[in-house]
Amino acid sequence: MVFSFAYGSVGWEFMEVMRLVVTGPVGAGKSTFIRSISEIDVVDTDRDATDETSQLKKKTTVAMDFGRVNMGEDMALHLYGTPGQSRFDFMWDVLIRKAHAYILLVPANRPGEFRNARVISNFMRQRTKAPMVIGFTHLDCPGAWTMENMAIALGYGSPLIKRPAMVEVNPTESMSVATAIMALIEHL
């Protein structure tokens, strides 16, 4: 359990917080995912994208997105979105030590990003035992790969390698996001 202390109108109160990290390559829908479910305006750190990323989108997260879901007075879900551009800097160190679970979002229509996603997945497998779910996004877009083929491209082709749960996610829909988070909770 992780407890945070918050001072409220009745004095010091216990608050239980679950920390979920949303990660994945550029354009997977991480910021959108958090925005779809967060009750607060997502604290975002978008900056103008540069180089290849700018050909995909105008802005990209350079530090971290943060969102929150309150479930009563003493329970909350905190969501942290990692930067899309793969910079494994000190922030990852903080996230790894604090996160309870991860969701790795992978865009089905961008095979150019599968290798990045595979590297992130390798990182998670090696550095943390926190449960992870893979969420495949953009499955309805032209050129989208199937979930099974993406699983292979991410390095889960061999039956000897245990696959994490894999879900289809539409990051723009709060219902879909909620379903993905529920799939993650099942593995806690």
Binding site: F90, R115, Q126, T128, N149, S158, E168, S176, I185
Partner: protein, 283 residues
């Protein structure tokens, strides 16, 4: 549903790794783009359970026969007659060998030209398209009977690559390490530089550190590291950069605390109210 795309997004070496790791069976078509400045190329590679079994620049199943005739190993008329007699579902190469018309060495030479040499040349394509179709006929008349894992052409193909610009974004980062995926010595034929780097696939040193240790340019080590990863011998494992950017954060595998069962139960109930009734979940 065929898997398709562009080599600029998903490189040929990644396609072959995908085909092998996915135990794919079918026909892989590689083709240069119509408006490319390079000479037009189209090549067909047949796979069975992730292994390359035949390849040709045509789909009329006459490629192997043409090679044999060109080398004057068997006269054309005789070969056409033999093809008619070849039992169903028997690779032509195996049949001809069983008739003592071609030797094992000749079969290996044909396979080498058909597969290794031709596919290695495809790595030079700066861009092109690929399509992997399943549910295709086995090309028995193109088959020598020899087969190799799909990634066995990757190392020879990448070793001769002169222009790495198309793969630049795919190369392992200098701040990443390599973790070997094969226990014990590998049966894959590595050259001296690859074998040197292979010794460092214990996930303990970054590529930058390995380059310094081997007194080699970082870029060269990144390229060889890429070769090892797409050949299925290692995986790239990022190291975390410390805030000062001068050293790596020492990491151990973290076992996080789990939220209480009361919390999880409450959260499930909360989310169920927002969740979609149907969703696709596989594991």
């Amino acid at each position: 549903m065929p898997v398709s795309g562009y080599l600029s997004n998903f490189s040929l070496s990644e396609v072959l790794q995908f085909a092998q790791e996915g135990n794919k069976t079918g026909l892989l078509t590689i083709q240069s783009l119509p408006n490319s400045t390079q000479e037009f190329r189209r090549y067909f590679i047949w796979l069975n359970q992730g292994r390359i079994i035949a390849a040709a620049d045509r789909t009329d199943y006459q490629g192997l026969a043409t090679m044999i005739i060109q080398r004057k190993w068997i006269a054309e008329l005789e070969l056409r007659s033999l093809i008619q007699q070849c039992p169903l579902r028997t690779p032509l190469g195996i049949y001809l060998k069983s008739q003592n018309l071609l030797s094992a060495e000749q079969m290996k030479m044909l396979f080498s030209v058909q597969i290794i040499r031709q596919i290695c040349a495809l790595f030079e394509l700066i861009d092109g398209s690929f399509q992997l179709k399943t549910n295709v006929q086995m090309p028995y008349l193109e088959m020598t009977g020899i087969n190799i894992p799909a990634t066995d052409v990757t190392l020879p193909g990448l070793r001769n690559l002169k222009n790495w610009s198309a793969l630049q974004e795919k190369l392992p980062q200098s701040m990443s390490g390599l973790l070997g995926t094969v226990e014990g010595p590998t049966t894959i034929q590595l050259n001296a530089q690859e074998r040197q780097l292979w010794e460092f696939t214990n996930g303990q040193m970054t590529i930058a550190e390995i380059a310094k240790e081997l007194d080699r340019p970082i870029e060269s080590i990144r390229q060889i590291a890429f070769c090892l990863t797409v050949a299925g011998l290692a995986e790239e494992i990022p190291f975390i950069r410390a805030e000062s950017n001068t050293e790596n954060v020492e990491l151990q595998t973290i076992s996080p605390q789990i939220p209480s069962s009361a919390f999880l139960k409450h959260m499930k109930g909360f989310l169920k109210k927002q969740a979609k009734p149907e969703s696709t979940v596989v594991s």
